[in-house]
């Protein structure tokens, strides 16, 4: 299983990159960069419980991600709370609980991920999750664009904004969950945001923006693997990928914004 498990893991990493580029493009336009980071941190308490009681970390991380997503959605709807306040509270609380629950020897893996082979079952579930995210983005692309442009006009067009926002947050969390295993709770959000920020600098239409963000994300993962294999062998994969992403963003600054 190790050899095929490694291949599965590599393929799923690339598929995660595609989903991250698509979701990240809309997250960037929705100005959800801060929320994006926080959502991935919400997985920490679940990861900590999983490491503590020796069950599948994705199950634990997924459970708290789901609960945290619902909590952020509810807090965003509550007009007496600013989103920043909600995010600040959830972020700090999650990191603290996660750090308290996770055994010390597993803390680095929980924070920064660990690249390892996966089972055929996990691979199939991962593919289904990516398919679901890609389907949602393309099925609801028009509604998401209208909501970005003007929530008021989107509502007047008959779009259920509460449902759309919840579905987007769930798609975001699912993307984080797929990347959680090898990117860790602290860096999974980074691959959603940084390639999208790069794609934004290159694109002047929504279609090209989605394409550019996904391609940059895939390229960052690919280059990250290469750099990690041949240059920075001692380093974890996730920080390498994020550094490559940041470098690509830096390079995109040389080119005038599209």
């Amino acid at each position: 299983m190790t050899e095929s498990g490694t291949v599965y893991s590599i393929i799923l990493a690339f598929l995660f990159a595609v989903a991250a580029g698509l979701v990240g493009s809309f997250a960037l336009m929705k100005r959800m960069i801060l929320a994006a980071d926080v959502i991935s941190h919400v997985a920490l308490p679940g990861l900590g419980l999983a490491f503590l009681f020796h069950f599948n970390p994705l199950l634990g991380g997924g459970a708290t991600l789901f609960l945290g997503t619902l909590l952020i959605w509810k807090l965003q709807r509550n007009e007496s709370f600013s989103t920043e306040v909600a995010i600040g509270v959830v972020f700090a609380g999650s990191v603290a609980i996660g750090a308290a629950l996770t055994p010390k020897e597993d803390l680095v893996d929980a924070f920064f991920g660990k690249f390892e082979p996966i089972s055929g079952f996990t691979f199939v579930i991962g593919i289904l999750a990516v398919a679901l995210i890609v389907y949602f983005i393309f099925r609801c692309k028009s509604a998401l664009i209208l909501n970005l442009f003007s929530p008021e006009l989107a509502a007047a067009t008959g779009i259920n904004l509460n449902r759309l926002n919840l579905l987007f947050l769930l798609a975001f969390s699912l993307t984080v969950l797929i990347g959680l295993r090898f990117m860790g709770a602290l860096l999974a959000g980074a691959l959603i945001i940084i390639p999208a920020a790069t794609g934004r600098r290159l694109a002047n239409s929504i279609g090209f923006f989605l394409l550019a963000s996904s391609l940059v994300s895939v390229l960052a993962v690919g280059l990250g693997f290469l750099v990690n294999t041949y240059v920075l062998r001692g380093l974890s994969l996730a920080p390498t990928i994020v550094m490559v992403s940041a470098l690509m963003f830096g390079l995109s600054l040389i080119r005038p914004k599209a």
Binding site: L148, F149, L153, A156, G158
Partner: protein, 247 residues
Amino acid sequence: MTTGIILSVQALSIQFDNRSVIHNLSFAVDAGDNVAIIGPNGAGKTVLLKALLGLLPFRGEVHWSPGVRLGYVPQKVAADRQMPIRVHDLLAAKAHVLKLPPRSIDAVATLAGLTPEVLDASIGIISGGQFQKALIAFALLGKPNVLLFDEPTASLDELAEERVYELVERLQREQHLTVLMVSHDLSIVYRAANKVLCVSKDTVCFGPPREVLTPATLEAMYSAPPKFFLHQHGQEPEIPPAAAKHD
């Protein structure tokens, strides 16, 4: 084409945090009417339009006749104009949501006077007048028979403002639309509207502009003597439109 009463509003009241914005408002609009909604800032004109669109909770009754399709042009759109969204992307998104054929985009673009260059331009680089035309084209998708405008020229210079009003009047004439328009410009109210609805804390009036917009009503509504009113013997305002703003 819809005829008779197209909108009936009965005892409409809207509150925010126990503060009454609109209290016990009743009026009816006939198909083909051009109703100007006027009133001082903060009187609840925008709130009224949003309630009519079903975007805000309210007490009372708002009844649109069957078969009514609403188009809405907001006062301003708080969108990030730096988003990589072209005018065409925006119209295509609404057409997709409403399951309209792609050719409907070209139809509304022609009606609103949007050139292919503007359609292909990003929303961040077009002028205020072009942006307003894009919003009107957006509202026209889905073939509405009622258009609700919230100060469609609030951020435009006079020339662009005049063009937008000409466009609205042409659309109403050619598309047989019913129009409800919030406006601060009394010259436009006299020129285009056949009914005027005053929304103000202390004054409510509804009827033909020449009957209900008396100096006394205007003074009571704006808590100041009117700078402008129409002389009854004339058909057109005697003061240039630029001087006729009540804001």
